[in-house]
Subunit: 231 residues, 2 copies
DNA sequence: TCAAAAGTGTTGAACGTACACCCATGG
DNA sequence: CCATGGGTGTACGTTCAACACTTTTGA
């Protein structure tokens, strides 16, 4: 049992991890790779790796993600939290800073052979504390969908309200009415009509208006109702 | 210029910092200590220090804080974010994970001679990226005051609504009406009357009811109004 | 009996939800 | 002309801000 160099007992290594989420097949999925080595051989882990000299944590997670997906396809990236339980990795002392990354519906980045998307509601055996981290990522996403324009990062560039509804249903895990979703997002000036409309399919139905998100940067749109400053 | 051991170029040190906030003299203040050495000699810094083997980040910040204040007087502690700019410390490569700590009004912990409370609205020269971190702590507090029971961590154990109003005004930085504050917090079941009442002072006035927070643990009280699940 | 401080009642606006109804299309 | 899916109108509930008014006290 001498796999710990002396250095490790005075300085942890610093890793970054990313919870990359995308709506696929109508469910919220996370990008995981299968470990080929101990510890947690055969379990599924979040992409990431060690911090290198001269880079920030965000640089680092972007660099490691580049090995798994085309990073240009990540529409939003934000820091979640840093996990520090000394026993989180049984083989070495390692801190991990987790990020949340979002990919728009419809993209299908190439991924390596060991890497696959998994439904967050039906995770396989996960490595280390990654299961907990994935759930933390989902909770962060759910909150942001409610009080910000975060939907832009999951929805395709343009969409009908029926399509957007499916995105919100999959991410939030509960029913959402397209009618009311439209009104909420329009009142907040988060979405706007493109002017186009989508022709109806063979089953008929009125053609749907096509919308897009007004902004591609995260913005808080719902200043808290309570305890707001006087007008 | 040989103060960097070779080790530092492959592994950063890991520090913890705390933004400890308290309402003092009717303003939101933060606990800082004055640096006696370079770099940033004479500037004011957040309390904290290096992570030790076998401890979590939260253990670490509690241990370092113990050197500055009585840790039992910290009513709430939560992780803020991890700062990783390679140049944030000009003398060494160091990551810092910042925490937000809150102290109830009225306590006056003993602090060392180099340590003092400063109004967040009127900060002295701050060291490293600590100025930015303090503002991030304030923003986190402001959000939580609106949608959670975080007030318990700033308010004294029992209080009148006039007193609680002053706490919210100082922390939020805008006017708050005691009448409406009461209704919001009572409806959310965040505060409850103790049954006592505070006799009026020499200037007269109706005696005030005394309240307390129902809970001493952080709880989200205002589930987001938007996009909530159907009932 | 008046000023001060606290508490109550009430109104109105903003925001979301629910649901009935209308519109445009394909077969 | 009817089923299908999309869009609009409207009523209602909840939440909170604003403000007038009432209560209880000290001097």
């Amino acid at each position: 049992m001498s796999r710990k160099p002396a250095q490790e007992s005075t300085k942890p290594s610093q890793a970054t991890l990313a919870v990359v989420l995308q709506i696929r097949d109508g469910t919220l999925q996370v990008l995981l790779w299968e470990r080929a080595r101990e510890p947690y051989r055969g379990s599924w882990a979040l992409p990431g790796g060690l911090l290198a000299a001269g880079e920030t944590l965000e640089d680092s997670i972007r660099r490691h993600l580049a090995a798994k997906v085309d990073v240009r396809e990540i529409s939003h990236l934000e820091q979640l939290a840093t996990y520090s339980d000394p026993d989180r990795d049984p083989s070495s002392w390692e801190l991990a800073t987790a990020y949340l990354g979002l990919v728009q519906l419809g993209l299908d980045p190439d991924v390596p052979g060991d890497t696959r998307w998994h439904a967050v509601d039906d995770l396989p055996e996960t490595a280390f504390d990654h299961g907990e981290i994935i759930l933390a990522g989902r909770e962060r996403l759910r909150g942001k969908l409610s009080y910000s324009n975060a939907g832009f990062a999951l929805a395709p560039p343009s969409f009908t309200l029926g399509e957007l509804r499916e995105v919100y249903v999959a991410a939030l895990g509960h029913e959402v009415s397209a009618t009311n979703l439209r009104r909420v997002l329009e009142r907040r000036d988060v979405i706007e009509p493109t002017g186009e409309r989508r022709p109806s399919g063979r089953t008929g139905g009125r053609p749907a208006e096509v919308f897009r998100f007004r902004d591609r940067q995260l913005a808080i749109t719902d200043p808290f109702a309570a305890l707001r400053p006087r007008r």
